[in-house]
């Protein structure tokens, strides 16, 4: 236990021409000795090692360093000499190739090539998916329904608590913050309109998508990325099983089915939260419901559902794509997951914009 205390010191002496080293040469004793030897001994010096006792791997490395510097080692014991010989002190260590820093132009080129590669990857992923869908359409049986059921459960049912929490908070905050200024005009009752429209058309699908991306999309990337690292994807390929059909399609189906359902759930909870707040402002439940059914029509609801379905599809697709194109090693999985989530969120925003534009054009 007292390694340090019981370790005898190693000492360096100079007598006349040569130097002498006495004591053990090990990891604990060479810490100060190494710089000392490097400073005092010059090439061509003679170091007598007859007084050397125990010598461990680190000590042998020190001897290697000395002999590499042209210092003659004398009187080394048989065991220690054998250890030193095993390190082949006459053979120089290979030069390490550290990556040279690329110039700005080559970096730009590298980035562009990377981007093009990613696009190609995405296009071929979508193509492959369509092909997988076409191939499995006539034989829906092979689409492992139990697996889809499990995935639906994972991304749908298990997400209900967190979805409820966030939706309730959203409904309550929205109702409360808008009711305060509206009251100044005696227009609290229109909070119901605001709440109904914004939750059903915009906020519930978006919130659902953000939760889905963080909970499920990221998990898909991590899971498929780990499968890639463990060569499980390769195992599927060598069986002639298409990973897109076997792994990706069930996930896409599960997410696309569950996203609208989760959204309906989120809308209900959000509106309930709003109704509770409005009750505090003296607006009864019946009036609240009446306002909403007047303000929100089936078209609004359908457009929210459509969005939700597309979000679900995108999230599952991006999650799987990034998982399948992960590099090797644990850190690669982490990287892929980070990039996937960012990509999902950006895609959500862009998609939302596109939807807004289309709905505006069509006058929905």
């Amino acid at each position: 236990m007292n390694d340090h205390a019981s370790t005898p010191v190693t000492t360096l002496h100079q007598d006349g021409e040569g130097w002498q080293l006495r004591g053990p040469l090990q990891l604990t004793t060479i810490e100060t000795l190494w710089p000392q030897l490097r400073a005092q001994l010059k090439s061509g010096d003679i170091l007598d090692l007859a007084g050397l006792t125990h010598c461990d791997g680190a000590g042998t490395a020190l001897l290697f360093d000395l002999s590499r510097r042209g210092i003659t080692l004398q009187g080394l014991g048989e065991e220690n000499a054998r250890q030193l010989a095993a390190l082949q002190p006459d053979k120089a260590l290979p030069v390490m190739h550290t990556a040279r820093k690329a110039g700005p132009i080559s970096q730009l080129g590298h980035q562009v090539a990377l981007l093009i590669g990613q696009w190609r990857n995405q296009v071929s992923f979508i193509g492959g998916l369509l092909l997988a869908l076409k191939n499995s359409a006539p034989q829906a049986r092979t689409l492992r329904s139990s697996e889809i059921w499990r995935l639906c459960n994972d991304c749908g049912t298990n997400a209900l608590p967190i979805m409820a929490l966030i939706s309730l908070l959203l409904g309550v905050i929205l109702a409360f913050q808008s009711a305060l200024p509206m009251r100044q005009f005696g227009a609290e009752v229109f909070v119901a309109n605001l709440l109904g429209l914004s939750l059903i058309r915009e906020l519930s699908p978006l919130m659902m998508a953000i939760v889905l991306a963080g909970r499920t999309g990221a998990a898909y990337t991590a899971e498929l990325g780990t499968m890639k690292v463990n060569e499980e994807i390769n195992a599927l390929l060598t069986f002639g099983i298409d990973p897109l059909r076997f792994l990706v399609l069930p996930r896409l189906i599960a997410c696309t089915l569950m996203a609208p359902l989760l959204t309906i759930f989120a809308e209900l909870i959000g509106l309930t939260g709003g109704a509770l707040v409005m009750k505090g402002f003296g607006i009864p439940f019946g009036t609240f419901m009446g306002q909403i059914s007047g303000a929100v029509d089936l078209g609004d609801f359908a457009s929210g559902m459509l969005k939700a379905g597309v979000y679900g599809l995108e999230i599952a697709g991006i999650g799987c794509l990034f998982g399948l194109s992960a590099g090797n090693g644990a850190s690669a999985v982490g990287n892929a997951t980070t990039r996937a989530v960012v990509y999902m969120l950006v895609t959500l925003v862009v998609t939302d914009g596109i939807f807004a534009f289309i709905y505006y054009l069509m006058g929905w």
Partner: protein
């Protein structure tokens, strides 16, 4: 006094008992191999000996210090005496091979960077990986990862090295080189080795003593020199050395 003492060790996963009442001693400088059929609990025994898993009961002493239930200080002292190579290599994927070996040296010594790099690169030379120092683990083959893991386990020149199936996945030449390295370190530095292996050639080449586990007894079925085990009366034991399939 024995360097490693294992007393009445009982290993369980949940309610499943893997090993019961395992006791043995290992002296300093000894090379001991642990053998037995796949799934008999060799890795489990090793993980208990290095303190990764607490046993259901029993004790493990390393260098006179009780490992089980020890305080943080004693534990740290014991951990400094041992080096471990895991069955899967367990190299840190985000670091190059050289950085993997350098990490413990940087953490536990006050040597300067040049010295640390030299020590690390010489460890890699010992396992024949000096030309691959800058690569990442994911860029190595399985056998190379193992060798890199051995280099990392040796980084701090521990008294005891635990190796879990070091030669599985290695070619015969590299495997023999590894055996020679183990013998040399044991003889010249008095390093102690606990090696889990199935490789018969390896067992004969390195082992002073072999401890054989078997599922049928949930513990040690035989122990002795490799030659003794090969001539053992129990057919399970001698069958292992004759490579006879179980019937």
């Amino acid at each position: 006094m024995a360097l490693i003492e294992v007393r009445d060790l009982v290993c369980r996963y949940g309610s499943r008992t893997i090993l019961r009442d395992v006791s043995f001693d290992i002296a300093a400088g000894e090379v001991v191999t642990i053998l037995g059929g796949s799934g008999c609990g060799k890795s489990t025994l090793l993980k208990h000996m290095i303190g990764l898993i607490s046993p259901a009961s029993g004790g493990i002493c390393i260098g006179g210090d009780e490992f089980i239930g020890s305080d943080a200080n004693t534990r740290q002292c014991i951990l400094r005496r041992i080096g471990v190579m895991y069955q899967s290599g367990a190299l840190f994927g985000s670091m190059s091979v050289l950085d993997n070996v350098r990490l413990p040296l940087e953490t536990f010594t006050r040597l300067d960077a040049a010295a640390i790099e030299l020590i690390a690169r010489l460890k890699l030379r010992l396992v024949g990986l000096e030309d691959f120092a800058a690569l990442f683990p994911a860029e190595l083959s399985g056998g190379m990862q193992k060798r890199a893991a051995i280099a990392r386990a040796m980084a701090l020149d521990p008294q005891i090295l635990f190796l879990d199936e070091p030669s599985a996945g290695l070619d015969p030449v590299t495997s023999a080189g590894l055996d020679a390295l183990i013998r040399r370190l044991a003889e010249s530095q008095g390093m102690t080795f606990v090696v889990v292996t199935h490789e018969l050639a390896s067992i004969h080449a390195i082992a002073d003593r072999a401890i054989m586990l078997d599922r049928s007894v949930q513990g040690i079925i035989a122990s002795g020199t490799p030659d003794e085990l090969a001539r053992h009366a129990n057919p399970i034991v001698s069958g292992f050395f004759l490579r006879k399939p179980e019937d």
